[in-house]
């Protein structure tokens, strides 16, 4: 006869309610693991989608995602000429926050070369960008319809397609425009600023009495052209030819002293270990604290339940019950509570994870590990109850 099951059956209301409470706590623990995995998945989403072997960025930076990086666009042609390079494609991106329907509307704008790679993943509605200007493809999670228009910078952009969900390392949904449009949005100054700078440059050059007015005008035109140039990108992605040696190609690109060539593996490490390290530690610490709280709660429940059963245990001992029967009853109750609570927590997250503002990624390994940890906590927590039970004297069954 399974005494644990019999006790649970008799006190099922109390047992289920306690398990639900514990399940909610474990649900939070599961969700935190999912958030952590989501952070990693988000951080690596654009990296993985582009399938680049090397990310060429500004020297001395960990760009383009972890730090700001700006390099001239034309460097792409020099990189393409490096032996072992099969294809290059520049990218320009920035996080944009505009107002839409009276609410903040935030997304990650990626500008890519239509003839290169780095564009949106699979299009699920509408079409890909076909014109050089003013067309946009957005991720599904932006909840924008095909045909809608968004005003960015000086111009209005028409949504021509919806892509599968893809987000930035910050978790913002991605939107795609052409490289030229992205450069325009990111680097083009406002008309007021341009007017002011032109006036300032003109005044500065005019003040130089050592050159002729013609030379002064020419100098002014050159300075303005340099200042207003927008042919800058944040990174140039490189794909290697089959058989190319990665470190060798990296070395050759790095020889230009104003560039840094980061391999895809290094970029993954920068993003996974650098950018989200603190978030990982924070979530990890929360998980540990919550698991300790769960352990304390299970211990208290099991201990209280053992106190409630002092006379039952004393009676069992008096009629000659072996210790294993009593230990089994307490241990099984603890484990059953853990299993039920884990199931409730898992179900809760399974039903709600899509409603979380940030991505929750539930991995089988994480879930299995947590289950094993919960079971271990249940076993350890039941020790306090078992210790109490073993100390109960059969004589306590006597008396009124």
């Amino acid at each position: 006869m399974n005494l644990a099951i019999r006790d649970i059956r008799y006190h099922r209301g109390r047992f289920v309610l306690t398990s639900i409470g514990l399940g909610l706590l474990l649900g939070v623990v599961i969700s935190m693991g999912g958030i952590y995995r989501g952070l990693i998945a988000d951080a690596l989403a654009i990296l993985n989608a582009n399938k680049a072997d090397i990310w060429v960025v500004q020297q001395g930076t960990n760009g383009p995602f972890a730090e700001s990086s700006r390099i001239p666009e034309e460097i792409r042609y020099r990189i393409a000429a490096v032996p072992g390079v099969a294809a290059v494609s520049p990218l320009a991106f920035q996080t944009i926050q505009i107002e839409r329907s009276g609410k903040p509307f935030r997304f990650f704008l990626v500008g890519y070369d239509l003839n290169g790679f780095g564009g949106p993943p699979a299009i699920i509605a509408g079409r890909n960008i076909g014109r050089k200007h003013y067309e946009m493809v957005v991720a599904k999670s932006m909840k924008v319809d095909v045909g809608e228009k968004l005003r960015l910078g000086h111009n209005e952009y028409t949504i021509v397609g919806i892509s599968e969900n893809i987000v930035s390392s910050g978790g913002d949904p991605a939107a795609y425009v052409t490289l030229a449009d992205a450069q325009e949005i990111q680097f083009r100054k406002s008309n007021h600023a341009i007017r002011n700078e032109r006036a300032k440059t003109g005044a500065s050059v005019a003040g130089n009495k050592s050159i002729s007015p013609q030379q002064s005008e020419l100098l002014k035109q050159n300075i303005i052209a340099t200042n207003e140039a927008i042919h800058t990108v944040n990174t140039v992605m490189v794909r290697l030819a089959p058989g190319a040696d990665l470190p060798e190609v990296q070395g050759m690109i790095g020889r230009w002293n104003h560039l840094r060539a980061i391999s895809d593996a290094e970029q993954t490490a920068i993003l996974a270990k650098g950018m989200i390290e603190k978030a990982r530690m924070q979530l990890g610490l929360f998980r540990v604290i919550l698991l300790i709280i769960s352990g304390v709660i299970i211990s208290l429940i099991i201990y209280t339940s053992t106190l409630d059963k002092i006379r039952v245990i004393a009676t069992l001992k008096l009629i000659g019950s072996q210790n294993r029967v009593i230990i089994g009853m307490i241990l099984q109750q603890s484990l059953l509570m853990g299993i039920l609570a884990y199931g409730i927590g898992y179900l809760l997250i399974l039903l709600t994870y899509e409603k979380f503002p940030r991505r929750i990624v539930l991995e089988a390994f994480d879930l299995q590990s947590l289950f094993v940890i919960v079971m271990a906590i249940c076993v350890i927590s039941s020790f306090v109850g078992i210790r109490k039970a073993l100390k109960i004297e059969p004589a306590e069954a006597l008396g009124g």
């Binding site: 006869m1 005494l3 008799y10 006379r311 009629i319 000659g320 019950s321 029967v325 069954a397 006597l398």
Partner: protein, 236 residues
């Protein structure tokens, strides 16, 4: 062979100046099928005597023999598995019946049988027979909260009898019952003692019940001060 032999049984609680002698030099025997009462006021040592015979309290001095096995001789006999002895040779009945609240009447009887190693189906069969014999067939699937005091005590008796013990020890089994139910329980114990050839020792201070016993051991200040038989004989 006696079911119970007690020789110069002494129980002292504590040590030194604070020690209390709860029982001193108690000696008696109980035959199989005999119904014996231990009578005395509160604090006289009745329950201590019962717990020493019931292998719950270790005697300080003296000898206890249950069904021919010496279980204590100046302390426990180290070679004896006390739990096993309790399972196989002893049955207990309590004042408050001590039924396990989350088990039905039948399961309360079955648990004693399964603890003793009986297979589930056999345990179920035996417990059903016992409860039917005690007129509790209609209450088999009821939890203790749904049973009356008398019914609960009869289930407790069924549990005590489940493993066909040689000795049944009862601690105030009628204290929580009204006169009629108390009398029914005593009649039942008397019948069972004869039918099962079990020695039954009952701790009580209920003088209304004394006529039911074959023998009465009167305990006072830790000593057996008188021994009476149902025929009226007295030994002091």
């Amino acid at each position: 062979m006696y079911a119970i032999e007690v020789d110069k049984l002494t129980k002292i609680y504590g040590k030194g100046e604070t020690s209390v002698t709860a029982l001193q030099d108690a000696s008696f025997t109980v035959r199989p099928g005999e119904l014996v009462a231990i009578l005395g006021p509160s604090g006289s040592g009745k329950t201590t005597l019962l717990t020493c015979i019931g292998l719950i309290n270790e005697p300080t001095h003296g000898r206890v023999v249950i069904d021919g096995t010496t279980v204590a001789d100046g302390g426990w006999n180290g070679g004896i598995d006390l739990k096993r002895m309790r399972r196989e040779k002893l049955g207990f009945i309590f004042q408050a019946h001590n039924l396990i609240p989350f088990l039905t009447a039948r399961e309360n009887v079955m648990v004693a049988l399964e603890i003793n190693g009986l297979a589930r189906n056999d345990a179920k069969k035996r417990s059903t027979e016992l409860l039917n014999a005690l007129n509790l067939g209609h209450r088999m699937n009821n939890y203790p909260t749904a049973l009356s005091g008398g019914e609960s005590q009869r289930v407790a008796i069924a549990r005590a009898l489940a493993n066909r013990p040689r000795v049944i020890l009862a601690d105030e089994p009628t204290a929580a019952l009204d006169t009629e139910n108390g009398k029914n329980v005593m009649d039942l114990l008397k019948k069972l003692a004869v039918e099962n050839n079990s020695a039954i020792m009952v701790v009580t201070h209920d003088h209304r019940m004394v006529e039911n016993f074959d023998r009465i051991l009167e305990v006072s200040d830790g000593r057996i001060c008188a021994e009476k038989t149902s025929h009226g004989g007295t030994k002091v």
